[in-house]
Symmetry: C2
Subunit: 257 residues, 2 copies
């Protein structure tokens, strides 16, 4: 089981179009520092499972026949954008497993093409993907969203985006089934000055520390990063470690070697 990050940015990506902050300028100069919209893929037994579908080169990167399944966290545009092109392909249907969102996104349900949206993920109703047990985990977001836990031969990974904080049930799951890696939305730097939370849809770094204290995962990889978060992390690198890190596009995590 191997997880590759296709994107680790938020919907504005890095560099943000027209921005001259440190993170954006560095990413303009060095393409390895660019961050596409957050998504990833799991490889296992020669099969590929996409976690969201928004990579700009998705159809070039994954040639026809190579995508076994697509697992969606939610139907916000920045997580499903590539499906609008992919659907018009000519191939066997590709099964898309997603939260039971009645709307989907734009006309995806009306004109699904080769995409089969009939399989819905329900919180805590586990299912199997070639021996990996997948557990849908509720998240807190403005749109019905699910993260996913993956377990294979005693190794565990959770991929939780988009969310602000975590629902109690999901927190409890993480405590009951400690993960080796928690991949989690950290869109914002920590809010300061004791202000009431103004960011309703995504975690800030303070939320990550709260979750870390409560669930104690083996490692935390932050994703869905804004340029503000990356700038802040560069200026406060002492808070990060090998165990608590910002992921970047192209990063790979191996499980069960």
């Amino acid at each position: 089981m191997k997880l590759t990050f296709l994107g680790t940015g938020n919907s504005a990506m890095i560099p943000v179009y027209g921005c001259d902050c440190t993170a954006c300028l560095e990413a303009q100069k060095n393409h390895k520092l660019r961050r596409e919209k957050s998504s990833a893929f799991l490889e296992h037994n020669g099969k590929i499972l996409l976690l969201d579908a928004n990579a700009p080169d998705l159809m070039q990167r994954f040639p026809p026949g190579s995508i076994d399944r697509i697992l969606l966290t939610h139907y916000h545009m920045d997580h499903v954008q590539s499906l609008f092109d992919l659907r018009w392909g000519i191939s066997e249907p590709i099964r898309v497993i997603s939260p039971d969102d009645p709307q989907g996104c734009d006309d995806l349900y009306k004109h699904p093409g080769i995409l089969d949206f009939s399989t819905r993920a329900e919180p805590f109703q586990t299912f199997d993907w070639y021996g990996i047990t997948i557990t849908p985990l509720p998240l807190n977001h403005s749109r019905l969203s699910l993260g996913y836990g993956f377990e294979y031969e005693g190794k565990r990974l959770a991929y939780l985006t988009d969310t602000v904080g975590l629902p109690e049930q999901t927190m409890q799951w993480l405590k009951n089934f400690p993960v080796d890696w928690l991949i989690i939305d950290c869109n914002y730097p920590p809010e300061t000055g004791g202000k009431k939370r103004t960011k309703k849809n995504h975690n800030d770094f303070g939320d990550i520390l709260d979750i870390d204290r409560e669930c104690q995962p083996g490692n935390i990889g932050m994703t869905h990063l804004s340029h503000d978060m990356v700038c802040w992390a560069e200026a406060n690198s002492q808070v990060l470690s090998k165990r608590l890190r910002l992921m970047i596009d192209g990063d790979v995590l191996f499980f069960c070697e």
Copy 2:
């Protein structure tokens, strides 16, 4: 006034993902034969006006500050897809002129970011863009759609996609104001066998011949091409000419040199 084609394919593009027809295989081998989703841009007086916004490399190709205006034909996803990324840029607002579609596409109106959707184009209500007179022209499509006529120093161009046939008023406009170039949706090869029309949303090649007979434009450039249309055109190249041609990505038309 100079028109550059960013894309000349339909929503499935060419090559179609997973297709092994002649047109798709040739486009896989030779990238110059690829066709992205249909869009174009006009350059005039050092300014750029985008005609639809769906190019996969739009934000790389048009750096911040370089897009003066965006003119939308309609709000189907394959014509507005890049706006979902572009909106989160940091720049002066970019004015988007579009048909008065109450829905728009997904949450573009709700979260416009740097895009200003407040200017609506109305049929035959001309407006000016740096000395070019632009005339919105009604089209026949499943979504409220407008083509646009462009006139500068006696040279005329019309860009009409997406449409099946043309409304009588638009046909009359083309007869009253003969264009040097008619750029038009030709998604399909001609229907054969006297069947009743089954394609309700786009022109086939027979429609193009009908429009040509009635309006007699100087030249016709076909766009929004499906792989079926390109295959058919390759097998029936005698019907094409320098005057009646398939456009391809990267083609440039100069007016008023």
